[in-house]
Symmetry: C3
Subunit: 346 residues, 3 copies
């Protein structure tokens, strides 16, 4: 367990210290749960009222905090409390490493493993694989032939990396993820589905994180690619030949069908489905559950299934709620015009 | 394989025996498939007509069965045939145990494993983990640091339990489930997504069952919790800081986003999606595919996406089906009022 | 790596050779990426214009290709270019085999493994399992008691086959799939959910392919079955007692609830959800995201949630888009009839 002085934390986040900088901090906790030895964060203005009662040894607060609320407290005042929270949380992370290469791992003679990598027992590394510096590979992970894992990457247990998958630097792959499986492609020959062998690769660039049990298929030809800094949640499905741009956010249970391209800084909410062969522009934001059936221009915010611009979708929802009243109004007109009898309502 | 006398089965279910209590029963089969040595169940009144032709050695039937239909049969008459079926099915279950601790498992010196636990080959148990009495852990399961697994729990193959996950008594975790992975949290710093380290835990209470390839993330701070007796199906995603109450039923492919709370005795049908930071009350029932975007009061039955009270949703569906007729009626009025020409229909 | 002469490829696909049949081909690439030593395919008429500039050593083209476009090229002219692509892709597939039975695999004394099977290190094969000729089983796969895997099947890493699962010939199971887990069945006894032990089996027929992290539960009684030639994508959920007919296509993230039957040559698009106890006929086609709540007759094409015949669904979408205009028209009529004031619009 890590212990830090508040002064060190203030330095990390570039904040202004108020109170005792020598107090020891051993954990981050929420404002209600924090006790002595903990630091907490004010991330939401509505929680300011809890500052007086929190038992935390220190609080990290934004510039616009009510200064009276932190009087007598040990505090660090920062420009962006959320960003400070991310930075400080990582100081207390208990990350593995320095375990060496277990003799209980199975490593092909033709694999090339950095001496600074940590390879747990019961890892299987196949022919020609390359594992870089400071990489950590947990048990029950299969590293296929000619897979490359670049420096600083972290692979949790039970991950499968099919042959020739390429992972960049500082990539994180959560447990159970399957990268580089066969894309789903067949041709009907009149009596059965003939399999198209999937001869392409999967490439994951630097700083990508991939969630638990997520599946990303390799390309039929050429490559499937996820670009630098993109973050993918659990149980996501990404089909063959898909390309995803930089710094996008793909929330849980999203499915993206084959040959679709997704731009940079895109956010796809939970359970979004995207058809094959469409192009989603940069900075597109899709609400949870959106069904994207055709290409979407840059900077769109969309919702619904089939998808609509978000504003249009809201309007459609508004009209849907008015349908009963509309039927009432119509019936009234018909009665007025004697097109319908008062006793004849359906 | 288990063999029981019908008399013993009658005692287990607290039913009234009719016919030969000494007949040997070796299996449970459906009314059409059952043969000599099998017991079958009448769970659906519509199947009463098949009682005469079933080859089963015995039938278990509800109190309101037509007594003529079981004349000459070996039968057990019970108050609740479905409950009797559950009880009897478990008599014939072929559950593993008593295998001891395999020398081919990797167990940290600082882990604490009950002598009555069954640990298969190729299990990895990390530092400080505690495994209770009669626990069974199948191959390729990773038990992280300081994980606790309480008595009688059953962990199938290829499961990943991240550090500090807590499992109660008699918990069942199916193959491929990933418990306690990082919640999905980042802060954009203007040029990249900064990861928020996930410092909280995941706690699973007694008698919870978790399906294959389901993912439940640990909290960012504090805890994610699934309370006593809740049953979760396959391929479900539960985000960080979620809390799920007692005895709820979460069907396959449901996704629950971060910081949402779900009450007791809730039923979420297949593919339900729940937004983050909402509160679902007790005894709420959501139809398959419901998209829950805001909090739901106790005892609601809901459907649709965005969700509506079930009755309102049915009404909306009814109006949707009437839309073509409504357009017809409107056009007719316009013609009547000479607002539109007869040749001008769209 | 395989190298073939173009003449051999022409023979495999039964095509007409044009140009140099002796040219060596070492890979298949897309028309834009192909270079010397590669063969490429014209699968889409719109790409014909790229034939002149492709660097590929050979092209495979359909009968109706513009002959001028392949003048001077090495080409094979075929009736069905897609089918030829599937056939040729498989010539270049780099499939594993002939690895023998690893001494690092754990194999029960009572299991029966063909001498021609390839069993990787860290495979666990339990009592009474039978593994046929030329079967390949990758690391971290659990083969339960009395499981049978017939000749030529291929099981990728981290797969779990629960007890008594039956796999036919040439079955492919991708990484992380869980076959034969407990169906999701409980009976409420007034104070808790009583588990129904799942006593049935799961049977997968010949030539079925099952995607990564897909889950198919075994039956409560009797069997869950997937028939010959059906192809199932990643992250699909198939409940207990489901039966799926021959040569169907089940796309990613589909969920099929318990006791439902699906016919032959059915196509269920991505994220389709199917309720329990319904019957889907033969040759049904469901668009991505369809919610199937009741039985569907043979040869239907459906969409929407709840599902409608595709044509009706298109019509409904058309009317939904017209709703704003409809409200306009209605208001105008009301004004005309003095049922509403011009200043009273909502």
């Amino acid at each position: 367990m890590v212990t830090l002085r508040l002064r060190e934390i203030a330095t990390t986040v570039g904040g202004e210290l108020s109170g005792d900088g020598e107090v020891n901090i051993g954990a981050v906790r929420s404002i209600h749960e924090a006790g002595p030895g903990d630091v907490t964060f004010l991330l939401n203005k509505n929680y300011e009222k809890f500052l007086s009662s929190t038992q935390a040894s220190a609080v990290i607060v934004p510039l616009d905090v009510d200064r009276a609320a932190i009087a007598g407290k040990n505090a660090v005042i920062v420009k962006d409390a959320s960003l400070a929270y991310a930075q400080v949380s990582r100081l207390f992370e208990d990350r593995r490493g320095g375990c060496g290469i277990s003799p209980l791992a199975f490593i092909s003679n033709t694999a090339n493993i950095s001496q600074s990598a940590s390879i747990f027992p019961y890892v299987y590394i196949d022919d020609g694989a390359v594992v870089g510096d400071e990489v950590v590979v947990y048990p029950f992970t299969y590293v296929g032939r000619e897979v490359t894992i670049d420096a600083g990457s972290l692979i949790y247990p039970n991950v499968t990396l099919y042959d020739r998958v390429m992972l960049g630097k500082r990539v994180i792959i959560h447990a159970g993820a399957v990268l580089g499986a066969d894309g789903f492609g067949y041709v009907w020959d009149g009596s059965q589905h003939q399999k198209i062998a999937q001869l392409g690769v999967l490439r994951i660039e630097d700083d990508v994180e991939i969630g638990a049990n997520t599946c990303i298929d390799r390309a039929s030809l050429d490559e499937t690619v996820v670009r630098k800094g993109t973050k993918i949640d659990n149980l996501v499905m990404i089909g063959h030949n898909v390309s995803i741009g930089r710094n996008s956010i793909i929330v849980s249970q999203v499915g993206i069908a084959g040959s679709t391209s997704v731009g940079e800084n895109v956010v796809l909410g939970g359970k979004v489905g995207v058809a094959d062969h469409v192009a989603i522009g940069n900075r597109v934001r899709a609400a949870g559950g959106t069904g994207i059936h055709k290409s979407v221009p840059d900077d769109s915010t969309i919702a619904g299934s089939p998808h609509l611009p978000h504003r249009e979708w809201l309007r459609q929802q508004w009209y849907l709620k008015k349908l009963p009243a509309l039927f009432e109004r119509l019936t009234k007109i018909e009665e007025e015009l004697h097109l319908r009898d008062h006793n004849d309502r359906d």
